[in-house]
């Protein structure tokens, strides 16, 4: 793969170098330039739309930010063209933050609206605020970069944009193939699960907005400089739509989608320009029917034709890594790891967690049981930070967790699984586990962007460790299969693997045996015992009493939001209040039940 990629890049560079030998006129060069500019804008937008899963219908606004920064920096402030380009990227990043600020708080159609609003506000400002932006009259005499005093010809512009595109591509490729790309996809596929492995959803969405803003602003700046003129007519709602179309038609979520999209759409546009009526019709038809034929865009359709060989797992890949379960830390001493006091959560009149207090001792397996609707999952959600409590305190190793967001709780060392599986379904089992290890893959953003050796080493080590863990849990053969294609029982186990990969001190399991057959349930019991041996404290919600009684040292019983009993399994089995809660019997019947037991 790396070889093919390198060859393709070399070919592209060679083709660019050979341009002067081809019989190309200025019109052709302009088309090549436009392809490059569209690629720049779309490549970043793809990070936002295809990876982080956030739609934007306002990127014309960011294009404007770049273009006007370059224009005003040159015309008004007399800043050199090269510095203006950098400045444009900087302003792009700032405005990316500005648009991200409201955008990360909304989703779906509201997100579309916020981005449309941003685009239109920018469009109106540059149109109406003529003192600064000169409106439709436009800014003239924008100076263009030059090398050794020689200004760029059209050919040079194509080379320059081509170089920018290649650099952008390499950086984004490096970024998206590692922990950042995975985290973006995780945010798109399952936000709660992403939080549960310590990924701050809003931070990654913001990052994606900023990345897309920078490339889009760069595209705008380059256009303004090449044109040496820029006015408000460039900035329209249709431009925002066009960028989105390039990404989606090309194939969002594929690193090559924006390239295919910008090449095909720019060429089509230029070719059909002779017949304006036909141009619009075909554009409409393209939008309408192409996605019907190619739901994943051009890249998706081509990818299906050239699918590489599936990766095969072999033992040696895992041998280079260390499974989390192989750790042999000092055994838990039973001291208080988590202390919950007076925890309370109400939804209107329903009180799923009613002033609950208990202590989780380090190194033990704790079980939380109770009838359906007793509030067990809500309690777990409070502990993991997915739901904020109304009052009360959760102290974990002396640190207050109540009110902390889920990703923060996760980063302190509390991992969880979900009752209704929340795997990253389209990602491989390996990627799911790598996401679990997200916090432990040491790679700073610049290192990942530039593909520095440190970042590659961290990635390789994390991969080996993840494969070792998967092999340890009997999932090695399935490591490269998409999570959603695994049988149900293995999906449950994969979720445990993902949680373990974050190297938690406390593991919360929400009904891990739900839907498992007796054999799988038995194996699950063994897995939990191994987790305990590896020094991880466990709190599980479970209905299978055999499992609960077999593996746990401490049982908590919740009924109607209140903790009605806690203690050793044998004592709980005989507790009349627990029996009453389960059988719905009154005290007398409970006594009978007890005597029968």
């Amino acid at each position: 793969m790396g070889l093919v990629h390198g060859l393709s890049l070399a070919l592209l560079a060679a083709a660019l170098a050979l341009l002067p030998a081809l019989p190309l006129n200025d019109f052709h060069l302009q088309i090549l330039f436009t392809i490059g500019v569209n690629y720049l804008a779309a490549a970043g937008l793809n990070v936002l739309v295809g990876y982080a899963g956030q739609k934007s219908l306002g990127h014309a606004g960011l294009f404007a930010v770049g273009a006007y920064t370059a224009a005003i920096a040159s015309v008004e402030w007399g800043i050199s063209p090269w510095a203006s380009l950098l400045l444009a990227c900087g302003f792009g990043a700032v405005f990316g933050l500005v648009i991200a600020l409201p955008s990360v708080r909304v989703s779906g159609p509201s997100l579309a609206m916020v981005t449309i609003g941003f685009g239109i506000v920018v469009e109106k400002i540059v149109t109406e605020w003529t003192d600064i932006f000169k409106g439709q009259a436009g800014l003239y005499g924008i100076s263009a970069p030059s090398i050794a005093g020689r200004s760029f010809t059209n050919l040079h512009w194509v080379w320059f944009v081509g170089a920018l595109c290649i650099v952008t591509h390499l950086m984004l490729r490096s970024l998206l193939r590692g922990r950042y790309g995975r985290a973006f996809l995780a945010v798109q596929m399952a936000e709660p699960a992403a939080q549960s492995v310590g990924i701050s959803v809003s931070r990654y969405k913001t990052l994606a907005f900023v990345v897309s803003a920078v490339t889009c602003a760069l595209a705008g700046a380059v256009v303004a400089q090449q044109n040496q003129y820029f006015n408000s007519d460039f900035i329209t709602f249709n431009l925002s739509i066009f960028f989105l179309v390039v990404v989606i038609f090309g194939g969002s979520g594929s690193i090559y989608g924006p390239l295919l999209g910008s090449v095909v759409l720019t060429l089509l546009d230029a070719w059909l320009a002779r017949w304006p009526a036909l141009q619009h019709f075909s554009y409409g038809a393209l939008l309408l029917f192409s996605l019907y034929l190619m739901p994943n865009g051009l890249a998706g359709a081509l990818g299906a034709l050239f699918r590489g060989r599936p990766k095969i797992f072999d033992r040696s890949q895992a041998d280079a890594g260390v499974s989390v379960l192989a750790a042999r830390p000092s055994a838990g001493d039973g001291s208080a790891l988590l202390v919950v006091a007076d925890l309370h959560k109400a939804y209107g009149g329903i009180v799923p967690v009613n002033h609950v207090g208990f202590t989780i001792g380090a190194g033990k397996v704790h079980a939380l049981i109770g009838p359906n609707g007793a509030g067990k999952t809500t309690l777990l959600n409070l502990l993991s930070g997915h739901v904020a409590p109304d009052s009360g305190s959760i102290r974990f190793q002396g640190q207050e967790l109540a009110g902390q967001p889920a990703h923060r709780v996760a980063s302190l060392g509390i991992a969880r699984t979900f009752q209704n599986l929340k795997l990253f379904g389209d990602l491989s089992a390996l990627d799911n586990v790598l996401l679990g290890a997200h916090r432990h893959v040491e790679a700073s953003f610049p290192a990942a962007l530039l593909g520095l050796p440190a970042s590659r080493r961290a990635e390789a080590q994390a991969r080996a460790d993840a494969l070792a863990l998967l092999a340890d849990l009997g999932l090695g053969e399935r490591a490269f299969e998409p999570a959603r294609s695994l049988p149900y029982g293995l999906q449950r186990r994969l979720e445990i693997a993902r949680a373990l990969a974050s190297r938690p001190k406390l593991l919360l399991l929400d009904e891990p045996a739900a839907g498992l057959n007796p054999q799988e349930t038995h194996e699950l019991g063994d897995v939990i015992k191994r987790i305990q041996t590896a020094g991880v404290t466990v709190l599980l919600i479970e209905h299978h009493m055999d499992l609960v009684m077999g593996i746990s040292q401490h049982v908590l019983v919740l009924d109607y939001g209140a903790l009605i009993a806690e203690g050793a399994p044998d004592a709980i089995r005989k507790n009349p209040r627990v029996i009453a809660a389960y059988l719905g019997a009154d005290e007398d019947a409970a006594t009978v039940a007890e005597s029968v037991a």
Binding site: V49, K55, P102, R105, V106, S107, G108, P109, S110, A112, M113, V114, I116, G117, F118, I120, V121, K124, I125, E128, E191, P192, F237, I241, L244, V245, I248, F249, S252, A277, H280, F281, Y283, G284, A285, L286, L287, L288, F289, L291, Y292, P295, T377, N381, H386, V387, F418, N420, K422
Partner: protein
């Protein structure tokens, strides 16, 4: 003061138009989680088909300007009904071409396909009617009415009257009738609705017909104010979309409320500084959505964990 009154009247009329189209977004969004992003193009045949019928009835070619004497309230009403029927039928086409292939698939494909459908529709209209705009008189006359000193255009009164009646009618239909109940069932859970014997696809098609018809009606109502042309749609539909989102895409009443709010704010800001209208409105929308992501009357969606 009279200026404010005048602005309120035109804001109300404009808001009624936004509200009508926004209601259309609500109805299809409820049933399919999609709506027609190219709705602006549907206003175009909405106005042009009706105007052409009136022109043909007056013995003129299908494009050209319409004189006030060539139209009565009755002929305007009939032309409007014909327009609404035509655009409603286009709604069926829209469903089969642009919605059905993508429903339930997630992603943004339906956004692009509906935009594509709109572009085709708009260019088809361009081929038939050309780029020139057609002046359309109001069936109630173009004389300005003086009410409390404020000059109010009769068409504004007509717009508000018709739009509000249609909204109240639809509100009753959605709340009280078997169809309304079926529509809400489909909105809540299509699979469950199908199990209890509701023809889900039929309900969805009707939803798209209603949504398109509303856009057609809006096009015909607004023509005497904006003139009829191939290019009137985008701006109006964009505001209507904003109205739906701000009011709450999941709430029919929220959509109507959003429409009126937007129309009135737009008119009042226009009184102060016309060029600040869009900037103010869209900044306000962003603020509202940050505070209430589901819109003013929309349901807060909570993901169950």
């Amino acid at each position: 003061m009279t200026a404010i009154l005048q602005a309120l009247a035109s804001g109300l009329a404009l808001g009624a138009i936004y509200g009508l189209i926004a209601l259309g977004f609500n109805i299809t969004y409820a049933t399919t989680k999609t709506f027609n992003f190219g709705q602006g193009a549907f206003l175009v045949p909405g106005s042009l088909v009706g105007v052409s019928l009136l022109l043909l009835a007056a013995g003129k070619p299908h494009w050209g300007n319409l004189a006030p004497s060539e139209m009565t309230l009755l002929s305007y009403a009939l032309a409007t009904l014909a327009s609404v029927a035509v655009v409603g039928a286009i709604g069926i086409l829209l469903y089969y071409c642009a919605i059905k292939p993508f429903v339930g698939a997630g992603g943004l494909n339906w956004v692009l396909s509906t935009i594509g459908f709109g572009i085709i529709l708009q260019n088809a209209a361009l081929a038939v009617w050309g780029p020139a705009s057609i002046a359309v008189p109001s069936p109630l006359g173009n004389e300005v009415w003086r009410i409390a000193g404020a000059g109010i255009r009769p068409q504004e009164v007509l717009i508000a009257g018709v739009a509000i009646s249609v909204m109240v009618g639809l509100d009753i239909v959605l709340r009280k009738t078997r169809f309304g109940k079926a529509l809400r069932a489909v909105a809540f859970n299509p699979q469950a609705a199908a199990i209890v014997g509701i023809n889900v696809e039929k309900i969805v098609i009707i939803a798209f017909v209603i949504s398109s018809s509303l856009a057609g009606l809006a096009g015909m109502l607004i023509a005497p104010i904006t003139t009829a042309s191939v290019f009137i749609g985008l701006g109006v539909a964009l505001k209507a979309f904003s109205a739906a989102i701000v009011g709450g895409l999941t709430s029919p009443r929220g959509c109507m409320l959003g429409g009126f709010l937007l129309g009135i704010i737009e008119a009042l800001v226009g009184l102060w500084r016309a060029e600040m209208r869009e900037i103010t409105i869209f900044l306000l929308i962003i603020i509202v959505l940050v505070l209430r992501p589901g819109g003013l009357m929309g349901a807060r969606s909570v993901e169950k964990i």
